[in-house]
């Protein structure tokens, strides 16, 4: 079973914050509010390395633009101990563009952007709709399900397997592997390295077979691209990219679908309003992304970086607290309220600056299809036991158990 990293109680959030604190994982908003008012750049020396936590929207926006002084070479929120960090000092993540700075970040990102452009991702809508309907067929007659495990978790790994041309039956393995890197693996470096290696080995096999014998699929297309920087190391580059697409698209999207169903399963007024008015879906889903932003990234300073009153020293980390930024009253009216008809919503759940989530159009499509399909088939539902809901936090926050009754 997954358990968060062991955590000692926090006395002072300004100098000793802990994003794995159980209360913080459940609801980080009160901590952000306090910090924003008193100490908008909190710090901690937990987990081996000094790490800063911004909570203001303007600060997160500004920090995301300090490239490459604040580097993406080690983008996970917890750094691996040096003796275990065998892959190019990058938390064991060989995953450009997310683990790269320009110029490598630019050309690897340009390789994948066209497949994720707004019109291109529409190619996956029908598959996703069928998938969601089949999942619902499986539990609708029971009158109950675990909306995280039986529904949200099932969708992204199958969509990405479909896109990358992998055996759809491996979807459950993908979920386990990705959680091994992003959830369990944050607590226990051995587990992170174990699952990182499982993923790498799987991908090396898949990519190598396509390098020998191209197929009519996306990985073969990537291998065949005419990119001067990739010449002579196509397999390595494409394995890295596939690694990222697998890791970046699963926990994240699953969390955002689960959070949306959690919200509507605990807020009957919002649920009824949305069920009665389809036209609210676009603003409602953006509001879910803002309020329940799942993803926190990290940067590592490659030199001393002065920032306001502080200096981020060479080798220290900064958390890209996109979720906290999205609750800043200076950027959002009634920031701590969910307004499903919020029309002005400049949220940065998908990041900001050059690393803007390359998969955001696909993620939005998956959210749109999965929540709409759920509402069409199951317009009346509620979380059956709010105390039984569990959350994962850290790099990716979202519900992991979500018992639902309908």
């Amino acid at each position: 079973m997954l358990s968060p990293p062991a955590t000692a109680p926090v006395d002072d959030w300004t100098t000793d914050y802990d994003i794995f604190d159980p209360e913080y994982v459940k609801d980080p908003t009160p901590v952000w509010k306090d910090l924003r008012e008193g100490c908008p750049m909190a710090r901690t020396d937990r987990r081996g390395i000094r790490s800063w936590l911004p909570t203001k929207y303007a600060d997160v926006q500004a920090l995301a633009k300090i490239v490459p002084e604040l580097s993406s070479k080690d983008p996970l929120v917890v750094t691996l101990p040096p003796d275990m960090d065998v892959v190019d000092n990058s938390s064991g993540l060989n995953a450009p563009p997310i683990s790269a700075d320009p110029p490598e970040q630019i050309w690897t990102r340009r390789m994948i952007l066209p497949a994720f452009a707004p019109r291109a991702v529409e190619a996956h809508r029908e598959f996703t709709e069928d998938l969601c309907n089949r999942l619902i067929d499986g539990f609708i007659d029971d009158g109950r399900c675990d909306a995280a495990v039986d529904y949200a978790q099932q969708i992204p790994p199958r969509v990405i397997a479909h896109m990358l041309g992998f055996d759809p039956n491996k979807a459950d393995d993908f979920t386990e592997w990705v959680r091994g890197v992003l959830e369990l693996g944050l607590a226990d470096p051995k587990i992170r390295v174990k699952y990182r290696d499982i993923i790498q080995n799987f991908l090396i096999t898949e990519v190598t077979s396509r390098a020998k014998e191209p197929r009519d699929d996306y990985l073969s297309e990537l291998l065949a691209m005419d990119i001067p920087e990739m010449k002579g190391r196509e397999i390595q580059v494409v394995v890295g990219i596939a690694n990222l697409l697998l890791i970046a698209g699963i926990d994240t999207t699953w969390s955002s679908i689960g959070s949306a169903l959690y919200h509507f399963g605990t807020h009957p007024d919002d649920r009824r309003r949305l069920a009665a008015d389809d036209a609210l879906f676009p603003t409602a889903l953006e509001e879910m992304l803002r309020y329940y932003s799942p993803v926190t990234m990290a940067r590592m300073a490659q030199e001393d970086v002065p920032f306001g009153d502080i200096v981020i020293r060479d080798g220290e980390k900064v958390l890209m607290n996109f979720p906290g930024a999205n609750h800043d009253e200076d950027a959002f009216e009634d920031a701590d309220k969910v307004l499903i008809d919020r029309t002005r919503n400049r949220h940065i759940a998908f990041g900001s600056g050059i690393h803007r989530c390359a998969g955001s159009n696909l993620a939005r499509l998956e959210m749109d299809v999965s929540v709409r399909t759920w509402f069409a088939r199951i317009p009346e539902f509620e979380v059956s036991n709010p105390d039984a809901v569990t959350w994962a936090g850290g790099q990716v926050r979202g519900p992991r158990k979500l018992p639902m009754r309908f």
Binding site: R110, L113, P114, F116, A117, P118, P282, T343, R344, N345, R346, H347, I348, F350, S352, G353, I354, R356, S360, N361, R364
Partner: protein, 65 residues
């Protein structure tokens, strides 16, 4: 009213194209550009203001004549 998109700032969040495909489009890399030289018909004024306020990169602005 006239809109412009700063291509240095745009990172392809696609909020603008999702909200106002009458006013902007995106290229293969998801980067946005204005249609019709950025000229906004009167009846789309509200939409233009909406996309200005929803761009996470502050890349869209009104051109003051």
């Amino acid at each position: 009213m006239k809109l412009s998109i700063d291509s240095e700032l745009c990172q392809g969040h696609n909020r603008c194209f999702a909200l106002a495909p009458e006013l902007v489009d995106v290229d293969d890399y998801g980067e946005a550009f204005v249609l019709n030289d950025g000229v906004v018909p009167d009846e789309l004024r509200d939409k233009a203001l909406l996309i200005i306020d929803n761009c996470p990169e502050f890349a869209i602005s009104e051109v003051k004549s």
